[in-house]
């Protein structure tokens, strides 16, 4: 064991950060993921400026009456075209699908990001506390984790949808995060437990360094890679949960839109008017795919030895 470490140490002429960056960028899938995500983010941010239309049907430029009237299908539903500025076509009532998709994308990305930040933070705090302090604190917290894991979180969220649908989507973020942190917390806990027994932490304890400082100076920095990786992968998971709930009507709801609710609206007539859900569906897959490629790329870059996370 220590033989390997020794040799690795000697081979490391580059700094750790440089090595990680180099490994990441040598991984084609990860670079593809990063490029895609950058593109998608740019689209979400800049999209509204690219079209004269808006997603909000109650606004003046929310509905296109010309499209509504001119449509060959009668009653809205023009196919995607650059001529009339509806890049992704229009909906039944003449709403611009592009503007709505961008809005949905923004919403889903934002929710995913916030949920990941919240749940990874909860996981880091709970996991590190349980793992470092051990004993009763640990037992209590882990029981809570086990309980939350067996609670059918999807059902509970659906039941609670009444609450967050009336009090805004931030509550949805909080609830999604509340049911999303447990597995990461378990991992963080086991890492903290092993770090706790590492000699450099023990040495710090015996030097008289206070607990708070040990956690902030030694424990957390040494878990940074784990937290970054898990945080990234959590973004994808959160987007999937959010869109799932929204699809069933338990998440983001009209008048606001998310990728999930857009897909739900589009599926009714998916066969005849594919543009209604194609773009939102495609963007959803692409976003989650890009995020998981980045997450796995980061894992490979941080920890090239581990196969348990290597891409399939």
């Amino acid at each position: 064991m220590s033989e390997k470490k020794l040799n690795q140490a000697k081979d490391e002429t580059l700094s750790r950060r440089q090595l990680i960056v180099r490994r990441f960028f040598r991984n084609k899938s990860a670079v593809f993921g990063l490029g895609t995500l950058l593109f998608i983010t740019a689209l979400a941010v800049l999209g509204p400026y690219l079209t004269p239309w808006t997603w909000d049907l109650s606004k003046e430029n929310g509905l296109d009456f010309n499209a509504f009237i001119d449509s060959p299908y009668g009653g809205g539903l023009t196919a995607p075209s650059f001529d009339d500025g509806h890049y992704f076509g229009t909906s039944q009532v003449g709403g611009d699908v592009f503007a709505q998709t961008i809005r949905g994308l923004q919403k889903s990305l934002l929710i995913g990001l916030l949920v990941a930040v919240f749940s990874t933070s909860i996981a880091a705090i709970v996991g590190a506390t349980a793992g470092y302090l051990m004993g009763r604190t640990d037992k209590g917290l882990m029981w809570l984790v086990d309980l939350l894991l067996v609670l059918p979180s999807f059902l509970i969220l659906a039941i609670l949808s009444r609450w967050y649908q009336s009090s805004g989507w931030l509550l949805l973020v909080v609830l999604l995060a509340a049911f999303n942190w447990m597995i990461t917390a378990r991992i963080v806990r086991s890492v903290s437990m092993s770090l706790r027994e590492r000699d450099f932490i023990r040495a710090a304890r015996y030097m008289g360094v206070p607990t708070r400082k040990i956690i902030s100076k030694h424990l957390i920095p040494n878990m940074a890679s784990l937290l970054i990786i898990d945080g990234t992968l959590n973004v994808g998971g959160a987007i999937l949960s959010e869109t799932g709930l929204s699809y069933l009507g338990f998440g983001v709801r009209a008048p606001d839109v998310s990728l999930g609710s857009l897909i739900a609206e589009g599926t009714a007539s998916a066969l005849t008017y594919p543009w209604l859900f194609m773009f939102s569906g495609g963007l959803l897959i692409l976003t989650v795919l890009a995020i998981s490629l980045i997450g796995d790329g980061l894992r490979d870059a941080f920890d090239p030895g581990s196969k348990s996370g290597r891409k399939s």
Binding site: S2, E3, K5, L6, N7, Q8, A9, K10, D11, E12, T13, L14, S15, R16, L19, R22, R23, R198, D199, F200, R202, A203, A204, Y206, M207, G208, V209, K217, H218, P221, N222, P304
Partner: protein, 678 residues
């Protein structure tokens, strides 16, 4: 070379592609292996020993690039497909790996795994194979072999599993057994048993044994011939007595002289080889040893020295091989320092007094609701005293309670039982601020230098960390840190580098510097050199001795390595299963051990000198360290003790029922009813 060879390795080179460049793991190695001989391959970690043995058995990872030839019966093994090669594996070439804990399949029975080895190469029925597996276990001296075939690996201890591995290796009576560090992961007394069995295995089957190890002592007792590897090359090869007595390559000379020996009584500074082994991705242009070689001249960079014949049956890879002997006799290579002796301040101020210290851990059972079903005594009523300026060593095999003892002292809280007095203060009566004040004078160095430094903290900051706790001013911290780096022999300019840029020996120096930052009175050292490479150990040991002379610190030194203890300590306490069985001055305890366990332990330590090692009589203990969960009754050592076995039945009964008290025997404290006398 008229004798027939079993195996011939010709100009074998193995490289691996890696992030930082090509790793030259094995470079142009040629080696002949004769029937029935024991060949020792010795080198430090990373010198390519494992890669060499893995290429011989054809189990290198796919990324390896191999060139050269490995000839078995005239067939080049390197050109065989996996399928063809698998016909030779196990039947002609067998292998014993280093880590017995993970080498067996955890979900299959031992018997099944041995039987499988037989069934692969022989036309026999499964039942016969299973029966034969039992016989093999019996040959490997495993008690109740025919029952044990039904056991799973996790039910066996490390030593037992290594016996199973040897049984597996000899199952098909191979021509060659490769043993890669077969005893490194084991305790000394168990190591002695396993090496004995390896010898027996070769006698039973007539197989040649290639014994790969980093431990000169291990080969000394077993091998007929030795090959020394350095940075992927064999640098010296020949009959073992000749090489030990009269090494010809500067690296070999340094290596042999740098090893502390348990059988030498006067203290000396060890010879230490400067620097550390080169990185296999960036080898020096000529001789790989050149940057560390005391006999280096410019020619050494001109070309890579080949292994050439030397004095008849030996070979050496050194461009100045014919001049070396002259340099040695002129005292120009590794001059042995005039021993100043340890000029230690004599004072009998007691810095640390431990009496009747006990520590137990709860024994838990159950998976869902764990409950305590009993206690395991990791440390059971031990007492010792550390005097100012002295070094007290605690020795014992793994699990005997050494580290628990240290941690109990370091915790500075009231022990479960007994008394700990540090600097005259009883730790159970300390206030928070007093405890912190004591921490300043009581520092610790751990075994693994790779784990003791936060990989994300530059070493300078690591050294300043303890000073920060005691609010030393920033500028003072900086000057002190630079001083310390210099003191331990490192360049102060490297203070902002990260630990990963240093080798093991250097890191241990950094850790020592950190421990010294606040000028402690006691330094606790937990196996400080056992994770280090052989050639850098001497340097760290010398540093420790030097520091003690300069600074007058006291050491509480814990080790399983008796040779190291013999070298550094003034007093020694031998632990067995949580108790001290013998303690006293080092010279006295080591020269005339009174407790049977001390004697056996000393006898099990291999001595790096083939003449001594092959001629001395050894006591090989039976069995292994019993589990502290249910320790033997009476004298804890009685089930393995060779003294009690030779005595009358009443005496035996006494040993089995009555726990011996510590008492003074010929100046040492011994806990034995029938101590050995001078």
């Amino acid at each position: 070379m008229k004798k027939t060879l079993v195996l011939q390795i010709k100009s074998l080179s193995v490289t691996f592609p890696s992030e930082s460049g090509t790793v030259n793991a094995v470079r142009n190695v040629s080696l002949d292996i004769f029937p029935g001989e024991v060949l020792g391959v010795v080198g430090e970690s990373g010198s390519g020993k494992s890669v060499l043995s893995l290429s011989t058995i054809g189990l290198l990872p796919n990324s390896a690039r191999v060139s050269g030839e490995i000839l078995l019966d005239g067939k080049n093994l390197l050109q065989l497909s996996d399928q063809e090669m698998s016909k030779h594996r196990g039947r002609d070439i067998a292998m014993v790996f280093q880590d017995p804990l993970s080498a067996l399949n955890p979900v299959q029975t031992i018997g099944h795994q041995i039987a499988e080895a037989l069934l692969i190469h022989q036309e026999i029925s499964y039942d016969d194979a299973l029966k034969r597996a039992g016989e093999l276990l019996d040959e490997m001296r495993i008690p109740r072999p025919f029952e044990r075939v039904k056991s799973y690996p996790h039910e066996f201890s490390g030593g037992m599993r290594q016996r199973v591995m040897i049984a597996l290796a000899i199952a098909n009576a191979p021509k060659i057994i490769l043993a890669d560090e077969p005893s490194t992961a084991l305790d000394v007394t168990v190591q002695a048993q396993v090496l004995e069995l390896l010898k027996r295995a070769s006698q039973l089957t007539g197989a040649a044994v290639v014994l790969v190890t980093h431990d000169m002592g291990v080969v000394a007792g077993l091998a007929d011939r030795i090959a020394i590897m350095y940075a992927g090359k064999i640098v010296e090869e020949g009959p073992i007595e000749k090489v030990f007595e009269n090494p010809a390559m500067p690296y070999t000379i340094g290596l042999i002289r740098s090893i502390p020996r348990v059988d030498e009584s006067e203290k000396r500074r060890l010879v230490s080889i400067a620097g550390s082994p080169p990185s296999p991705v960036a080898l020096p242009p000529g001789c790989a040893f050149a940057p560390r070689c005391p006999a280096y001249t410019e020619i050494c960079d001109s070309k890579v020295p080949d292994l050439e014949a030397f004095e008849g049956d030996r070979s050496v890879a050194c461009l100045r091989k014919d001049e070396i002997a002259g340099l040695v006799s002129a005292g120009r290579l590794y001059p042995t320092e005039v021993t100043k002796g340890h000029v230690k301040s004599t004072s009998d101020v007691k810095l640390l007094e431990v009496s009747n210290l006990s520590k137990s851990f709860p024994l838990l059972k159950g998976n869902v609701f764990r409950r305590r079903v009993g206690s395991v005594y990791a440390v059971d009523k031990i007492s010792f005293t550390l005097e100012q300026g002295k070094c007290l060593a605690i020795v014992g095999e793994s699990g005997c309670g050494k580290t628990t003892t240290l941690l109990e002292v370091m915790n500075l809280v009231a022990p479960e039982n007994g008394r700990i007095v540090v600097f005259g203060k009883n730790v159970s009566e300390l206030s928070k601020s007093e405890r912190l004040a004591i921490r300043k004078d009581l520092q610790i160095v751990f075994q693994d230098p790779f784990a003791s430094l936060d990989p994300r903290l530059p070493i300078g900051e690591a050294i300043m960390e303890p000073m920060e706790v005691f609010s030393v001013s920033k500028s003072e911290q900086l000057t002190r840190m630079q001083e310390l780096l210099e003191l331990v022999g490192l360049n102060p300019a490297h203070a902002n580098r990260f630990p990963s840029e240093f080798s093991g020996g250097q890191r241990q120096r950094i850790v020592i510097a950190r421990a010294l930052a606040l000028n402690p009175k006691i330094l606790i050292l937990d196996e400080p050199v056992s994770a280090l490479d052989v050639s850098v150990r001497a340097g760290v040991l010398n540093l420790l001795a030097e520091l003690q002379e300069k600074l007058g610190i006291s050491y509480l030194f814990v080790s399983h390595d008796l040779a190291v203890v013999q070298h550094v300590a003034d007093y020694v306490a031998v632990m067995y299963l949580g108790s001290i069985v013998e303690s006293g001055a080092v010279a006295q305890v080591f020269n005339s051990p009174h407790h049977p366990y001390t004697k056996a332990l000393l006898s099990a330590v291999p001595i790096p000198d083939p003449k001594v090692e092959k001629s001395r009589e050894r006591i090989i203990l039976e069995g292994e360290l019993p589990s502290p969960i249910n320790p033997p009754s009476g004298c804890r050592f009685h089930n393995r003790c060779f003294v009690t076995k030779a005595r009358s039945e009443t005496d035996q009964a006494k040993c089995a029922s009555e726990r011996p008290e510590l008492r003074i025997v010929e100046g040492a404290e011994v806990s034995c009813h029938f101590p050995l006398l001078k």
